[in-house]
């Protein structure tokens, strides 16, 4: 009898666990509203952010991963600020104003006075110059060398004035001046200790709202209030960056209050929305997902330009160089179903490469490709891709680019482990196969995929861009000079002389006024939309779940913590 009782108890426990795992039918609530701010600031409290990955190095010119910047961003001053809501460059950090010479080549930045490192030294123009000189040094192995591109010289006119001279006008050049500044008084003048300095793991000083406290690798990093912060010391005692690799575990810890902020996965949204102790910040992120279509033969990758900068005619892709095939793919995909089922509604269809968030350059008149399988099939029929043998897969019977009889077989790849992209791949395969394609889908390890992409040995790839920023210049994706097998990001081998010309003109407009640059970008979008080097699947939507522990949180799409010094512990 006792044994039976134990078995029943065990069965009940297993059933309880299984039931707990099943999704419960729940109503979808509207985004929770933030708790009202209180007038009197309350000191104290700690904010814990959950992250999937740990920082690697706490030096702004050596780091290349977002986790490192999440932590080191608290300590190092930067020249330029960014509006948290529009993303525009604004004089809210070290540069309080700037002047530009008439020819647009010389930029003079006037710095905030009285900004101090936490050890009492003043932050000056020398710190800026030291940082950029360090990047240029052969002794420093940094992925930031490109930040020096087009800069002819950096001169310190006085401790609070910096002059940057460019070789030519480039309207997005300011983006390269956004790196954090190193405290030059703590490093050797010849940069010989930059690589191995203990400061790379324990930054000794800060000019930001928090100072470094402790970093336990793969566990957590903690920072404390900087009482001398020039914008005013934060009310909170400190901030913790806690490493929780698993997304499910991060959500669980947000629910239990062990974490105060996490990036929310689409399938986790309802849980966060229904929790009265949590807020949800939803925003259009600066990225998009797409299917890249290789225009060149993957068996013979070639550079887009020769050494003299002339276009090199590509060995075309036997199938995807045919515009009709690309149009058929664009029309054969059911974007609404994809966004609803794969992205769980967290996306929006886009027509071309400039996102609506960059309002001045975005062309709202362009219509995204409509889901129309009849039209897609007709396009293929008209282009000579027909199913002659009745096996369900079309062959080339008079097509423009492939050999007669070649089947419409195309490889589609994405990175394994990204379940959203894997689901999208399966759906795309299904939808394209239904009109006579033979899509061979595979999800491969990310490092391998990167090799295939940059090596230009793929046919079609599902991937995405993030962190595109506020400037619409994306020449590295389209300009033929970036079609360089092994390294360039125009890995779809897109070649269009007019696009090359427009991209160059758009960043060298005298004065760089938005209204002068916009027509170039609108023409670029039209051509990209019509040529279909990418099938644009969805614009990215970001979701951040966070606790109501503090009043005054006012997250923007470009920054969550922009006003952290004003946050006040909720009572």
């Amino acid at each position: 009898m006792k044994n039976r009782k134990i078995s029943i108890l065990a069965a009940l426990l297993v059933s309880a666990l299984l039931l707990a795992a099943c999704p419960q039918p729940v109503p979808v609530a509207e985004t929770a509203l933030e708790a009202p701010a209180s007038d009197a600031a309350v000191q104290g409290g700690v904010w814990v952010e959950g992250s999937s990955a740990d920082a690697t190095i706490l030096n702004p010119i050596l780091a290349s991963d977002s986790a490192s910047f999440d932590v080191l961003g608290w300590f190092f001053p930067s020249l330029l600020g960014q509006d948290p809501f529009s993303g525009a460059i604004v004089p809210t950090e070290m540069a309080e104003s700037w002047d530009v010479s008439e020819d647009g080549l010389i930029w003079t930045f006037h710095l905030q006075d009285g900004v101090m490192w936490s050890d009492g030294e003043q932050v000056t123009a020398d710190d800026f110059k030291f940082t950029y000189d360090a990047i240029a040094s052969d002794l420093v192995e940094t992925p930031r060398k490109a930040n020096l591109d087009n800069i002819a010289s950096i001169d310190v006119l006085d401790p609070l004035t910096i002059q940057v001279t460019y070789e030519e006008v480039k309207c997005d050049a300011l983006n390269n001046l956004g790196l954090g500044w190193l405290p030059s008084h703590l490093y050797a003048e010849d940069f010989s200790d930059v690589m191995d300095s203990p400061l790379n793991e324990e930054p000794a000083v800060s000019a930001g709202p928090f100072i470094f406290n402790e970093w336990i690798r793969d566990d957590n990093a903690t920072v404390l209030r900087n009482d001398t912060y020039w914008k005013g010391a934060p009310n909170m005692d400190g901030w913790i960056y806690k490493i929780v690799p698993d997304a499910g575990a991060r959500l669980a810890q947000l629910q239990t209050g062990e974490l105060d902020l996490i990036g929310v996965q689409p399938e986790q949204l309802t849980t966060v929305q229904l929790n009265p102790d949590l807020n949800l910040h939803k925003f259009q992120d600066d990225g998009y997902s797409y299917i890249g279509l290789n225009q060149a033969n993957p068996e013979n990758p070639q550079a887009g330009q020769d050494e003299d900068g002339n276009l090199v005619e590509q060995d075309p892709h036997p199938i995807l160089s045919d515009l009709a095939v690309r149009q058929a793919i664009a029309h054969a995909l059911d974007y609404d179903t994809i966004i609803e089922n794969v992205y769980l509604g967290q996306g929006y269809q886009i027509a071309a490469n400039v996102l609506p968030a960059v309002g001045w350059a975005h062309d709202p008149s362009l219509e995204p490709y409509a889901f129309d399988t009849d039209r897609a099939a007709q396009i293929l029929d008209d282009a000579g891709w027909t199913d002659g043998d009745g096996d369900g897969v079309r062959e080339c019977n008079g097509c423009a680019t492939a050999e007669a009889g070649a089947s419409l077989t195309i490889r589609l790849q994405t990175n394994a482990g990204n379940t959203t992209r894997e689901d999208l791949g399966a759906l795309v395969q299904d939808q394209l196969n239904s009109i006579g394609f033979d899509i061979q889908f595979e999800a491969i390890e990310f490092g391998t995929l990167v090799g295939e992409l940059l090596g230009q040995t793929f046919d079609m790839v599902i991937i995405g861009w993030t962190g595109l920023g506020t400037d619409p210049n994306d020449d590295s994706f389209w300009h033929s000079k970036f079609d360089t097998p092994g390294s360039g990001f125009n890995f779809v081998s897109y070649q269009n002389a007019r696009i090359d010309e427009l991209l160059e003109q758009a960043v060298s407009v005298p004065g760089c006024a938005a209204e002068d640059r916009a027509p170039f970008y609108q023409e670029i979008q039209k051509i990209i939309h019509d040529d279909i080097p990418y099938v644009f699947v969805t614009g990215s939507v970001g979701n951040t779940g966070y606790s109501k522990k503090f009043n005054g949180t006012e997250p923007g799409p470009w920054s969550f913590y922009h006003n952290v010094e004003t946050w006040s512990l909720a009572q």
């Binding site: 044994n3 039976r4 134990i6 078995s7 065990a10 309880a16 666990l17 707990a20 795992a21 700690v46 990955a53 190095i57 050596l62 290349s64 052969d138 002794l139 192995e141 940094t142 992925p143 930031r144 060398k145 490109a146 591109d149 010989s192 191995d196 406290n213 336990i216 793969d218 566990d219 957590n220 903690t222 404390l224 005692d237 400190g238 913790i240 806690k242 490493i243 929780v244 690799p245 698993d246 499910g248 575990a249 669980a252 810890q253 629910q255 239990t256 062990e258 390890e445 990310f446 490092g447 391998t448 990167v450 090799g451 940059l454 994306d474 590295s476 970036f482 360089t484 092994g486 990001f489």
Partner: protein, 353 residues
């Protein structure tokens, strides 16, 4: 015994060398480029990538890289002393060979596991930082596996074909089959979120001071230990059941029962002692199983140990860290097997080493 231990340790040297060659070849020839993975960013130029590749020595043929990893000495064509000579790397040019020799003072033969590509930290330092966490979890999981696996196996054998025996056997199958990542998330949800009894992850409650609190540490240890020990309990209980069944059919057990020795004394004193001996032989593989199982468990429970570090290093193609960890795990496995052989000799006097 001493001679046996020395002989086994000497045999470990070619084994480790073999492991180093095989793992080096596998790791360096696996697809994916550590530089591309780190610099998959349109704002980073190819020139920057090439500089990084050269500075890290990744532009060299793998055989030269292997020699460098083994000895700390790298060879390059031509006079490149000015480019590579640093405070910690001394270079000299041999004109007769038209080759530059650089010695960074490292090399695994000199006990230096190299420097991480991802974090620029010495690999040994990275391992040492995470060792306490992994050992803490592994030892507790091993302890629980033995504590529960042994009596469950013995009782299961003693009550052969009973409901209890059936339950233990089902538990053994479930324990081996249940994916630890799923079971781990279920426990987190049930005991952490629904009941709120236990923390959902991490090795401690994070705070600005991170002070040591034994009770807090134990609470954080419970769920990952259960998951990691589950497979061990299953394996050990099944093994002990088989061994005990063999022992209890022997004459001396029959004799003890015939003499009227109480049943518990027969099972747990006479039978268990002899059934335990073969357990020593699976101790080494069990230790290895616990260490490798820790990779998943450490990830789910945000446990800052060596397994999780090795996994992320593999994803990032941080070759030196992966190789350093592989060598370390190989050494642990060799020592684990040696320990189990020695223990076998200690508990069974008939076995002479």
């Amino acid at each position: 015994m001493a001679r046996y231990v020395i002989r086994r340790l000497l045999q470990a040297i070619p084994t480790l060398l073999g492991v180093s060659v095989i793992s080096f070849v596998l790791v360096y020839n696996s697809p994916g480029d550590p530089i591309l993975i780190r610099t998959f960013d349109p704002n980073i130029t190819q020139e920057t990538r090439e500089i990084l590749r050269r500075q890290l020595g990744l532009d060299q043929p793998w055989a030269l890289q292997y020699i460098g990893w083994l000895t700390g000495v790298t060879l390059r064509n031509g006079d490149v002393v000015a480019e590579f000579d640093r405070q910690d790397t001394r270079c000299s040019f041999a004109a007769a060979l038209n080759t530059t020799f650089c010695d960074n003072g490292g090399g695994i033969l000199r006990g230096n596991l190299g420097t991480s590509i991802a974090t620029n930290q010495p690999v040994w330092e990275r391992l040492v930082e995470r060792m306490p966490a992994t050992f803490e979890l592994s030892v507790s999981a091993l302890f629980v596996s033995l504590l529960l696996g042994v009596p469950l196996g013995v009782l299961s054998a003693v009550r052969q074909a009973s409901l209890f025996d059936g339950s233990v056997r089902v538990l053994a199958v479930v324990g081996n089959a249940l994916p630890s990542f799923w079971f781990g998330l279920m426990l987190i949800f049930f005991f952490g979120v629904v009941l709120g009894w236990l923390p959902t992850g991490g090795r401690r409650t994070v705070s600005l001071t991170n002070e040591f609190d034994l009770l807090d540490r134990v609470r954080h240890l419970i769920l990952p230990t259960i998951i990691l020990a589950f497979g061990g309990i299953a394996g050990i209980s099944r093994f002990m059941r088989t061994e005990t069944l063999e022992v209890i059919r022997t004459d001396y057990i029959r004799m003890a029962k015939a003499k009227g020795v109480p049943a518990n004394r027969v099972w747990f004193i006479h039978a268990l002692r002899n059934a335990l001996i073969p357990l020593m032989t699976i101790l080494g593989p069990t230790i290895f199983g616990v260490l490798t199982g820790a990779v998943i468990v450490e990830t789910i429970f945000s446990w800052p140990g060596m397994g999780r570090m090795t996994f992320s290093a593999a994803v990032q193609r941080d070759y030196p860290t992966v190789l350093g960890a592989v060598m370390f795990f190989a050494l642990l496995t060799i020592l684990g097997n040696l320990l189990s052989d020695i223990l076998y000799g200690v508990v069974d006097p008939r076995v002479r080493l």
